[in-house]
Every structure is written in C-alpha cells, then in structure tokens.
Symmetry: C2
Subunit: 505 residues, 2 copies
C-alpha cells in the first residue's frame, strides 16, 4: 500500500498535499504506469484521513490526467512519462515531479484512456465566448435568454471600483498621470499579477515577465509581431473563431489542428509545420476538454524540438473551476522557456474593462523589450493602478470567490432541469458553460430557429467547427450560462429541453 | 478693390468670415493666382472693419497657404488651383471652395513661394514627442529640465475626471458595464468626437465613421491590417521615429519620403511606389512645417490616382495653435474618401489615458466592419463614457483653452530668453515645441553632453532624420517645452543658450 506522510505539509490542505505527492511519484515513475492504486476506503484508513479527502485527491488527479478511473475496477496511474522532457526534473520539485523517468514508448495518448472523454470523472470545462464576441451588437439584446455568454448582471463590484478610481485619480503623482505607461504596463499591477499567478496557477513568475494589455486581442497583435516571423500559427478546431480571424488579420498563416479527448493532436500539429501553437489546456473552448499531464508533456516536447517553436497557453476563465483545485498551468511545468501564458480579467471582472496580461519566458521578454519596447501600454495608467489596488486589498480574491459560488448556483439550476429531462452534459465542472448532448442528430437549424422564437439564443457545437475535427454524431449545444441568474437559467433550460424534445419527436 | 459682405456671417467672427470667403475665391479662381491683394489699411476701410481684423485674416490665409506676404510689396494670392481635384468642388461650399478651376500647370510647389519656410508669416508648428516616447523610462527622471516633452505638471483635471468616473461606474447599466464595447467604440463618445471635429477641425463626420482606440499605436496596428494588403506605407523624413518602427513591426514595407518647406514631397512619394502616405499636415513633427493648401490638393491628387491610395492624416496636437484659427483638417477637403484622420487625447488630456480616435471615409468604415469588426474595443467602456461626459459637459473645451493659455505662457518665457540671446527659432506658433537654430554647425554630441551635465535633456533635429532629407547647415535643437512651467522653461533656456554660446566659442 502506498504511504505518505501528510503531516509535513506547509499550509496546504491534506487533499492538496496528497495530490502534490502523488503527482510527483507518478511523474517520476515511483508509481508505475498502470499501477492499480488503493481503493479510496483502504487508502483513507492507511493515511489516517477521511474517504472524502482521498476521493477529492483522486478526482483532481483524474482531472489533471495523472490517474484514471475504470468502472468496477478502481483507480490506475496513467503513463505520462514518455513525454516528460528531462530538463523539467530539475525545476519541478515544487509541483512534485522530482524523480527519474517513466517507461518510454507506451501508448499514452489520452484519447486511449478508456472512458476519458465522457466519464463523469473527467471534469472538462467550457468557456463562454460572449465577453469576446459581444461585437455582434444589438441583435442579442432582443433575446430573453442569451445562452451565448455574458457576465452575471449585478456582479460588477461598482462600489469598490468607484472608490479606488477616485482614490487613484486623487492620489497618483503627476509623473504617473501625465505619462503613458511603458509597453509592459505599470509596475504595481505587474507585481500583483505575478503574486496572483503564483498563488492560483502555480507559476513562478518575476513581475518583469508580465505584459499588461487591453484584452486578449492586443496580445494576439503583439504576439503576431513578436513571433510571426518564426512561422505559421496553429489553433485548435473546434475553437474560438475570433482567434484564427485575428491572426489572419495580422497577415499570418493559420493552421487548424484537430483536438481529441486530450486536447490538441500533437501528431497533426507536428505534421502541419506550424511553429506557434495557441492552445487552451486548462479547459478548451468550446469542447471543455482538459489537457491531461501526458499530453502537456507531449506538447512541451514538440515545442522543445526547435528554438522557433512556442506554445501560447490561453488560460481564459481558469478562475472558474467548480470542483477541486484549479488545474495547474502548463506554464508552471515549462522549463524550456517555450510557454507564453495569456489571461484576461474579462470574465473574472468585466469584459468592458479591457484588461489582460501575458507572461513571457525571460528570453522572449528581452526580445519583446528590444523589438516592441517602443510601444506605450495599451491600458490607461489609472485603470492599471485601480486593478493593482483591487488585487492587493484582497477585493479580487473575494470577488472571484463570490462569482464562482454564484456561477455554480446558476449552473446547478440549469443542470437540474437537464437532469430531469434525461439529457446528458459534459464539461460542467469548469468554466462558465457546458455542452448539452441532444442524444441524437437533430435538424439544428430548426432547433436554433425554434429556440430563437422562444427568446433563447444558443449556439451549436457545429458553429465552432472549422473542418479539422470530425463532427460528433449527436447534435450538441454549447450552453453558456454566465449571463443569467439561477431563475432565468432554469427557465431557459426548460425551453431548451422542451424544444429538443419537440424537434426529436 | 475686393468687396465682401461680412454682415451675413452666421455666428463666426468677422475675421473668420473674411478668411472663409477669401479661401473660396482663391480656390475657385475668382481671385486669380498671384493677384495683388489690397493693403491691410485700405481693405479694412473698404470692409468697414478694423485693421487688426484684416491682419488676422491675412495671417491665417498665409498659414494655410492661400496667400503670401512679400516684403515691401504686400500680399498676393497663391496659385493653388492646379491640384484641386474637380470632384472636390461639389462638396466644398462649406469651406468656400465652390467655383471653377484655377489655372493649371503653373509652378505651385510651396517651396517655391518666396520666404515661405523661414518667414515669420509662416507659423509652423512642432509637436513634442514625449507623450508617445515615454517608454524610454526612468532615464529622463534624472533630468532637471526635460525638453523632450511631457505634459505640464498639475494640468490633469483630476476633480472633474474623478467625479465623472464615480458617476459613470455608479450610473452605467449592467448591459454597458458587463460587455466589451464594439470594435469602433461606445456610441456616446463617437457622437461627441464627431461634434468636436466638426466645430474645431471643419470636418463633416457621421459618428459611425469614428473608431475609438487605446492610443495611436492601436490605430497603426488596425490600419496595417486594414490597408497593409494594398502596398507599402510612406512616412515623412525627418519624422517621428516610432511611426516607421510600428509599421515595420507589423511586417509592412516603409518608405521614407523627404519633406520640404511645404511638407511631404509628392513627386518623391509618387516615385516611391507607396500606396499609403502617413503625413502630419497641420504641423509636422519635428520640423513644424504646415502643409499649405496647394500641397494638400497635390497630395489629394496623388491619392485620387489609384483606388489603392490613402492618406493618413495624423493631427496630433492640433489643439495647440497659438496664433489665429486652427488650420482646417485635410480630411475636410477630401471629397474622394481618401483621407483617414487620426488624433489622440494624449496631449489635450493625458498620455496615460490611452485614448484616441480615427475617422474613416464611409467606404473604408464598411470595410473595417467587415474585416476587423470582430474585434472588441481596445478602450475600457467606463473611460469612454467618462470622456463623452467630459466633452458633452464642456469640460474638454475649457481644459484645452486653459492648457493653450498655459502653454503659450511657457513658450513665451522660453522665447524671451532665446530672443535675448540673439538666436532664431521657427515653428513657434503651433504645437508644443519650436526649433532653435544654433546659428552655425556645432559639435552636437558635445552640446548635448554639456547640457545633460547641466540637467537639461534635449534632442537635435538630426535625431529625427533618417536619411531621406538633407540635413540643414546649422545645428538645430527641437525644444519641447510642454513638460515645464514658465519659470523652469526660462531657466532651462538660459542653460541651453549659455551652452550654445560656450560650444560656439
């Protein structure tokens, strides 16, 4: 029986410590690939902890791809070793990957793990698009229930924000108010962001690696300029369509790479000849796939094959994980300086703020300063300082926690209606939407039109597909519940389930 | 003797009306090229107005290139007709260009107008770069007197801005606060901007032609994406170096075009094969040249030769003209939809706000919506609404007027020191800096180093030259006085004049 000493943990929960230790042992091979893990009950007894603690730890390890659950057989360690680049070992003690290598050459593609894509043990998150696709304009205002996104009404922390705005405009020195901030942003905010990603995403980042900008689109433009000369860009399909559009608008060649149950298909990526891969490993939009640790290392391996290759980790909505800990960022296990981390405050605060950040590896930051350092920041200094104070005074954590609870409530209201209707969803454990499987292939145009007549705006999975990935057999709806409250969310889902039944009939 | 009825003017000043009517007659040929105009005294008597009114009108017409002053001979109409494209006549009644064409083929290049470039009658404006070049960072903070730009300390309207920020955050609907603004910006602000450019720049613009963005660099990126496929970009030399850098960072080919006393050399522009010309006709940075009306029509003529050609009119700092009316925008006489107008609030409010706008011709706006409409705005909705209220409540006009008076005071303090030292300046009547001629060629590195030791940061004209234009014989300093108050400005200029004398000796 596996044995761990959970008493020496420093500040983390019992469950968190168990996850950390098991991650390390699976990555190092100390727990071998396919090893049968103890049952929850036995393990709990032997560790002297509750069954719930072990269950939570197993769930988290499954979500991250270290462990799989096999029905009626129990838990097994996955084989993640063949893609763990050797240089990573030296740096990974913090995340527990500290030992020797695991067996090489076995079949580790996540899609081969039985039941992974559909298992309830695989909490795949989906991200809503509305914050970024609001340019569609007034059309959506005529819908009673907009299931394509948005931020919960009443959720913006007006009072704290207004007070900080006033404070900053009154306090800030002339030097600060009357000069455009440097290209990378205001120091105070970069420091807060570095602290935040350290705590919540397991990233060791120096504030000087942070670039603040007016939303993700500014970063697409900056990255196009910084990395465009290296070669073509790869994006996931299905995927967020603005992404390919933005890169193409920059004059770049864009490759569509299919995803499977483990995320981007690395073989297809390699075959595409692309140099830069823009991926959403924490929870892919719109499928909700969480990239397991084996695929993460496989992807890092791909990037390490050439100095021209980089991974853009789009961590949009990572704040909203409804079960267990957040999945650690890919950036946190990148020892080769291949990962550019991207996130915004669009969903965690408000898309209207136009606030985001990226984290560059040190050598790319030097290049950024040399090639693009002549730019001024794209974000108002006042708003940067307000956000810095909002974070340093603890408002941001409070706000995100409050929003997470609220979104869970809205989600639960929607899910209970779906359950009653006997329909199946996936990707409900993270992000701000889930995928609703209609159980069969329907006339999608008719379904969407009928829902539209009922005042419900919703998109099908097909709308995010660009051809690289084969469509699923069943009609799937991408349900973004973040713009509704709990009452509207169940009302909307009753209409959706009703129309699905009507169109099926 | 010319005769005008100045009584039917609607709301404009006597002087403004006279300018408007004479512009129309010179453009239409009713006043022929090279016609000797009445003396100020005779004209004033015949019009029943004061000599000052006529003098101001003549100064304005000279500044705009319609009239020239010849020493001991008086005032003459310029020949502007040969470049006035025929399609312009139909639209120009508002600005008075309503009649038939003027003689064609005569030598009208502005540089051929005697004494134009150096005459005191030719108030050429210079723009300071600091707001846009502040990324240089902490180095400049160690200078006592920074003559490379900045905004006057204490000038930001903190109280009004803070109050409006609070109001907007408290009043704005959830719909507004929780959605990213569309790519072109918030409606309220676009309406205010359209009103503003109508009043102050003579531009008839529908709010739907306005795009709000986070500073000029955002527009360079958007325009690169919108127009880049049409061909290479031309910029002025000497010029603002970040411009060429930004376009090159976007992967565009950039041509450097020499300027003469009338602005960009159109023959060189044509020979360069460039499709897009980025110019600063109101007052060029850093030489301060104001493009006269003849050159404006020549440039519009160049643009009209091919549907792929466009002019980007960079109207940076147009708010600060210290004598007469503002020079009307090139956009206002563009009937062929060839001009894209660009301006920011960096100098009129604060560079830290990252607020600017561009005005697209209607057909380009449709293209923008089609090609780039998927973007979200790069500016926070709150800040857009605050600026809209700041403008609609009259604060912006008040602020700009206050700043104009203040900058004039700072400039005058500097100029009186320069006068005492017997040195000559040019470009003092507009913008926020002037060019100081050292009277001879000096060891520039030595001069700059000595000034630096004295705590004075200043740039030479040579630093803005990229090779397309021949350097002047004398050493010239680009003196940006906007970051200082009147006391510091004379103190700084005493050091500058002292060191010039020392290096000359």
């Amino acid at each position: 029986m596996l044995q761990y000493n959970l008493e020496q943990r420093k500040g983390s929960s019992l469950y968190g410590e168990l996850v950390r230790l098991m991650r390390a042992d699976i990555a190092s091979g100390k727990i071998s690939a396919d090893e049968h893990l103890p049952s929850k009950r036995d393990f709990a007894r032997s560790l002297g902890v509750s069954v719930i603690t072990v269950e939570h730890a197993y769930q988290q390890l499954i979500a991250e791809g270290y462990v799989r659950a096999v029905e009626r057989k129990g838990y097994f360690a996955n084989d993640i070793g063949s893609f763990v680049p050797s240089q990573i070992y030296s740096r990974q003690s913090g995340q527990g990957i500290a030992g020797a290598s695991a067996p090489v050459g076995s079949d580790v593609a996540t899609s081969s793990i039985p039941g992974l894509a559909s298992s309830a043990w695989f909490p795949s998150g989906l991200r809503c698009s509305s914050g970024r696709e609001s340019t569609e304009g007034p059309a959506c205002e005529s819908y009673r229930y907009d299931l394509t996104g948005g931020v919960a009404p009443g959720s913006f922390p007006r009072r704290a924000w207004a007070r900080l705005l006033r404070d900053v405009v009154e306090d800030a020195s002339d030097e600060v108010l009357l000069k455009a901030a440097p290209a990378t942003g205001v120091r105070e905010l970069k420091e807060e962001i570095a602290r935040h990603v350290a705590r919540f995403r397991g990233m060791e980042v120096h504030p000087s690696q942070v670039v603040v900008g007016a939303g993700s689109q500014v970063f697409y433009a900056l990255l196009s300029q910084l990395l465009g000369p290296l070669g073509s860009f790869a994006v996931e399909d299905p995927g967020y369509s603005t992404l390919a559009q933005a890169y193409r608008a920059q004059g770049l060649e864009v490759q569509l790479i299919p995803i499977d149950g483990g995320g981007i298909d690395v073989a297809s990526l390699r075959a595409s000849g692309a140099s830069i891969a823009h991926v959403m490993p924490s929870h892919h939009f719109p499928t909700g796939v969480v990239m397991p640790i084996s695929r993460r290392y496989e992807l890092l391996g791909w990037a390490s094959e050439s100095p021209d290759r980089y991974i853009i980790e789009d961590d949009y909505d990572c704040e909203f994980r409804h079960q267990g800990h957040p999945i650690p960022a890919l950036q946190g296990i990148d020892a080769g300086e291949r990962v550019i981390y991207l996130n915004t405050f669009a969903r965690s605060l408000a898309p209207s703020l136009r606030l985001g950040y990226m984290v560059l590896p040190p050598h790319l930051m030097r290049r950024f300063e040399r090639v693009l350092g002549f730019y001024s920041s794209s974000v108002s200094t006042v708003e940067q300082l307000v956000l810095a104070r909002f974070m340093s005074q603890g408002h941001f954590d409070t706000h995100v926690n409050r929003m997470r609870r609220r979104y869970r409530e809205v989600r639960d209201a929607a899910l209970s209606v779906v359950d009653e209707a006997g329909l199946v969803v996936s990707g409900k454990d993270a992000g701000l939407h889930f995928v609703l499987d209609c159980g069969t292939r329907l006339d999608e145009a008719r379904l969407v039109a009928r829902l539209s007549e009922q005042g419900v705006k919703v998109r099908t999975m097909g709308e995010y597909r660009h051809g690289a990935t084969r469509a699923s057999d069943n009609t799937q709806l991408v349900v973004c519940y973040s713009g509704l409250d709990a009452v509207d969310s169940s009302a909307a889902m009753r209409l959706v389930c009703g129309e699905i039944a009507a169109v099926r009939a």
